[in-house]
């Protein structure tokens, strides 16, 4: 067992974890942060994307012990009351259907807009290459990210 201290969505937790425990399972099974989902086991789908110290990571490819001392933001901590512009834009553009990929897609998109606040459609598509959606065909996801960018997302 290893001791970790990690801040998740603004709350500080100290826990004993097995060194092999994946961050996504720590979030879901230990902290009840079930907004973050798991869609694969090879870090291809991106459903589990969260921010670690402000940068997007796939939480199925990070061990909980690697998150020691970091600040994690999940979809559940993205907004304070008011929806984040990306959440708003995903709703407006109908950029989600079943919604399973959505938390990871939004967290990845937020990081994309942090590094490139005004991406072209092609840059949006390339930037979200690590996040798979089976429902939308991505058309409306691209529109939503463009809309959020136009509304001026602050990192």
């Amino acid at each position: 067992m290893a001791s970790i201290t990690v801040t998740v969505d603004g709350v500080r937790y100290s826990d004993e974890v097995e060194p092999r425990l994946l961050l996504v399972h720590y979030l879901r099974d230990r902290l009840g942060k079930t907004g973050t989902t798991v869609g694969c086991d090879t870090s291809n789908c991106g459903a589990c994307t969260v921010h670690m110290n402000g940068v997007s990571v796939k939480s199925c490819a990070v061990l909980a012990v690697q998150a020691d001392g970091t600040e994690i933001t999940t979809i559940q901590g993205l907004s304070n009351g008011e929806w984040h512009p990306l959440q708003q834009a995903f709703n407006t553009e109908h950029a989600l259907q079943c919604g399973y990929c959505t938390p990871g897609m939004i967290m990845a998109a937020a990081d994309l807009l942090r590094t490139n606040p005004h991406p072209s459609d092609e840059q949006i598509r390339d930037g979200l290459e690590g996040n798979l959606c089976r429902c939308t065909g991505y058309e409306n996801i691209v529109r939503a990210v463009r809309r959020a960018a136009e509304s001026g997302v602050t990192p």
């Binding site: 425990l21 079930t34 869609g39 086991d41 709703n91 079943c98 919604g99 598509r125 991505y138 409306n140």
Partner: protein
């Protein structure tokens, strides 16, 4: 029900933002894997590493000693209770239906088949203990190729042999149609095996309290699952509650009664504790039923002027190792669709179902109809080349004209409505068809290494499953009706209970729009409940693009009954005759006196108090309606795809994609457009990227999303979509299904475009998925044989 009031109403056709999104966007969704119950244990399965083997021993004793493990069982431990997983569609009287135990007991027939289960306190401990289960196998020869499987002397998957069934269907004089036909074109196409890959992996939680069981499952079919558990596994139906919480996509893959669901119920009963199972993606790729996997031999006879005389289709369909819920029937959903939108004199279809030692196949978005549409739309292009005609002109010469509806096709379907001319005209305009043809000509003449191809798919499909009598005549196991209940609450708010359980389709929004229209209540005042058999007792669930065309109509019918009841109460309160009460936009008044009205909300409260109520009238406005459709639904459309094919590298780029779909009246254009987008992309994925690949030993090589190429945003083009609107005449809302249309339409549009680009090189097919390597090899092969030196064609 009249269409007049709906036409005037404001909600139908409005691009309402979805009610579902609030929880989905903020991480408050209730996925099955989120569920935690006191004392809950975790299951993990030991799965066969062999495609075909005799099990000589299973020893789980060492696994029981692993720390954290509570129990471990082999198939033999459940021999008396696990029965056989049901197949609900025995398509012929003499179909071979081998037993399919949820856990194998003496023989395994595909890699991934469950042979033992370990139950532990958490998912990591359960996974650890798998290695301690000792299974001995005696390998048997795998059966991997459908054609070889039917040969004399092939190893057998099951004792009864590898042929599952033969299903013939002949209409008209097929011999006459082909005899002396001036033109006959024959092709064989391969529908590769696909993996549905819903983003949410399957998950199950089972919990018993005394003799009652609750099963949470990531399923499309809570009602059918409850029925199956009751009918085939000895659990009294009234003691079974099935809940489909938020479900993260299905695409047919969750239209199933799975081994894991049944075993969760049995294990939880045996241990007296709740159990959970959540699959990993690689486990899912192995063991979620697969789709497609057919060999299609298609032959068309035509006159020189392009008129179609007859069509002959001979299919081999891979069942995989066992028959699952509707495995044998999937290719037959295509049987009626090969003639598509075209008129002809005769049609012959035959399908042979074949067992192999692979994961069983079953429904995957479109289910039989994408395969049919692919083959007919591909061969129409081949016929056009043979005749020297423009492929759109050939289609137009043969399709059913809009004034000919309703039209009985050669496959005996009655298409109620359609306008292929309008959809095609709009698609051509958006696409710039003539300009692209001109550019293509120029690039061919200049010998541009990147060639331009234009692909056409003028598709229709049958959906809205289904008229019960019709599917009954095809030996389908259940009916095709749908049920809805409207509850009028005391405050005038509305609760809707639907038997159509959504998993991303937006029923909560669309159903609210239908009710808001019918009852004249605010959209926000309506809540839609679904996916729990204790709440929604009756239903046939969600598949086959049936929710709106069957479930939505059931809901409209329930609303009409509410209005009838409200009229009686209003008549009593206003001292008028019931026949004189009119209901307009949520208000009831006496005909000719609109001032003296009562709102539906006032009637709701009067019904709740029941202080002043008509004699002999039940104080309730709540209404239930079950709707059995009279016909299928036939959405159609024209999809046009332009591809650029690099003849030096084989790389295919979709330059533009235009889809004009006609799904009848539209409840919510946002949702319709979203369904079309997602559908198109799943069809593009079949054309360009996806294939489930087994090696020569029967091991699945594409177990992860690194190997099985579900496309990302970067792999896909922008889609241009539009609609024409030809209302269905077979339901009062005029609606048609939309869930599968895009997938059915797009695959042939893309492949036709690739082949069209390469046609001058003498290439008339590229097998799917059309990867750069396959395209490059087709080009090399054509160059080697010197085909197409004189400008191509045959």
């Amino acid at each position: 029900m009249t269409t007049d009031t709906q036409a005037a109403a404001p909600e139908l056709g409005k691009a309402r933002l979805r009610k579902e999104d609030a929880r989905l966007l903020t991480g408050q969704t209730n996925w099955t894997d989120n569920i935690v119950l006191p004392g809950m244990l975790h299951m993990c399965f030991v799965r066969s590493p062999f495609a075909h083997a005799r099990i000589t021993s299973v020893d789980v004793s060492a696994a029981r000693d692993v720390p954290g493990v509570i129990a471990a069982f082999s198939g033999a431990d459940f021999a008396d209770e696990q029965a056989s997983l049901p197949c609900g569609w025995p398509v012929t009287e003499d179909i071979v239906m081998p037993p399919h135990p949820p856990m194998a007991t003496d023989e395994v027939r595909y890699v991934g088949e469950a042979v033992a289960v370990v139950i532990a306190r958490d998912r990591y401990e359960a996974a650890d203990a798998i290695a301690a289960v000792d299974v001995n196998y005696e390998p048997l020869p795998p059966v991997l190729d459908m054609r070889a499987a039917l040969e004399e002397g092939s190893p057998k998957v099951h004792e009864a042999g590898n042929k599952c069934y033969v299903w013939p269907f002949v209409q008209g004089d097929i011999d006459a149609a082909f005899r002396d036909a001036p033109v006959v074109v024959e092709r064989t196409y391969r529908q590769q095996r696909l993996i549905p890959c819903a983003m949410e992996p399957r998950a199950v939680v089972a919990s018993w309290v005394a003799d009652e069981v609750t099963l949470w499952s990531s399923t499309q079919i809570p009602h059918v699952l409850r029925f199956a558990l009751g009918a085939f596994f000895g659990i009294p139906e009234q003691n079974i509650r099935v809940i489909a919480p938020d479900v993260g996509g299905g695409f047919g893959s969750k239209l199933q009664v799975t081994a894991e669901e049944v075993l969760a119920v049995l294990v939880a009963r045996k241990l007296g504790r709740p159990v959970k199972w959540t699959e990993s993606r690689s486990e899912g790729n192995l063991t979620v039923h697969h789709g497609r996997d057919q060999w299609q031999t298609i032959r068309v006879a035509a006159d020189r002027d392009g008129r179609l005389r007859g069509l002959d289709v001979d299919l081999l369909a891979d069942m995989g190792a066992y028959l699952m819920l509707v495995t044998p029937g999937i290719p037959l959903l295509g049987a009626f669709m090969y003639p598509a939108i075209y008129k002809m004199d005769a049609y012959s279809f035959k399908c042979t179902g074949v067992f192999t030692t692979k994961m069983p196949t079953d429904a995957y978005r479109g289910a039989g109809r994408p395969e049919a549409t692919f083959a007919i739309e591909r061969i129409m292009d081949e016929l056009a080349v043979e005749l020297g005609m423009d492929p759109l002109e050939l289609r137009e010469r043969n399709w059913i004209k809009h004034e000919e509806f309703p039209y009985t096709t050669i496959a005996t379907l009655v298409y109620d409505s359609g306008n292929y001319e309008a959809a095609t005209a709009r698609a051509k305009e958006l696409f710039g068809y003539d300009e692209l043809r001109a550019e293509q000509k120029a690039r061919r003449e200049s010998g541009d290494p990147v060639q331009l191809g234009i692909g056409i798919s003028t598709f229709t499909e049958m959906c809205g499953l289904a008229p019960s009598r019709v599917v009954g005549s095809l030996r389908y196991g259940v009916g095709g009706w749908e049920n809805a209940t409207v509850r009028v609450l005391a405050t005038g708010k509305i609760e809707v209970v639907t038997g159509s359980s959504a998993h991303g389709q937006g029923h909560e929004t669309a159903w609210s729009q239908i009710v808001a229209d019918k009852l004249g209540v605010p959209f926000e005042d309506i809540r839609v409940l679904h996916g729990d058999t204790q709440v929604s007792a009756k239903g046939m669930d969600t598949y086959g693009s049936r929710s709106l065309t069957v479930g939505g109509i059931a809901l409209a019918g329930a609303c009409d009954k509410v209005i009838d009841k409200a009229k009686r109460v209003a008549a009593h309160l206003m001292e008028a005759s019931e026949n004189d009460i009119e209901f307009v936009n949520g208000r009831l008044h006496v005909r000719g006196d609109p001032e003296q009205g009562r709102t539906i909300q006032e009637i709701a409260l009067a019904t709740f108090t029941a202080h002043n109520f008509p004699d002999g009238t039940e104080p309730s406005l709540d209404s239930e309606h079950t709707f059995d459709p009279e016909n299928f639904s036939f959405p159609h459309g024209t999809h046009l795809c332009a591809t650029e094919v690099d003849t030096e590298t084989g790389r295919v780029t979709i330059r533009s994609y235009v889809a004009v779909d006609d799904v009848g009246k539209v409840v919510n254009p946002l949702i319709v457009e979203g369904q079309v987008h997602g559908g198109i992309v799943q069809g593009i994925a079949q054309a360009l990227y996806e294939e489930a690949v087994y090696d020569d030993d029967g091991n699945l090589l594409t177990t992860t999303l690194a190997d099985y190429l579900v496309p990302s945003a970067a792999d896909l083009p922008h889609l241009t979509t539009d609609r024409t609107e030809t209302p269905a005449t077979t339901n009062p809302l005029g609606v048609k299904g939309v869930g599968e249309a895009g997938t059915i339409a797009s695959t042939p549009a893309v492949v036709n475009a690739i082949v069209d680009a390469l046609r001058p090189m003498g290439i008339d097919d590229v097998p799917m998925p059309c990867t750069p390597e396959r395209v490059w090899r087709a080009i090399q092969s054509a160059r080697d044989t010197g085909a197409g030196q004189n400008g191509g064609g045959q």
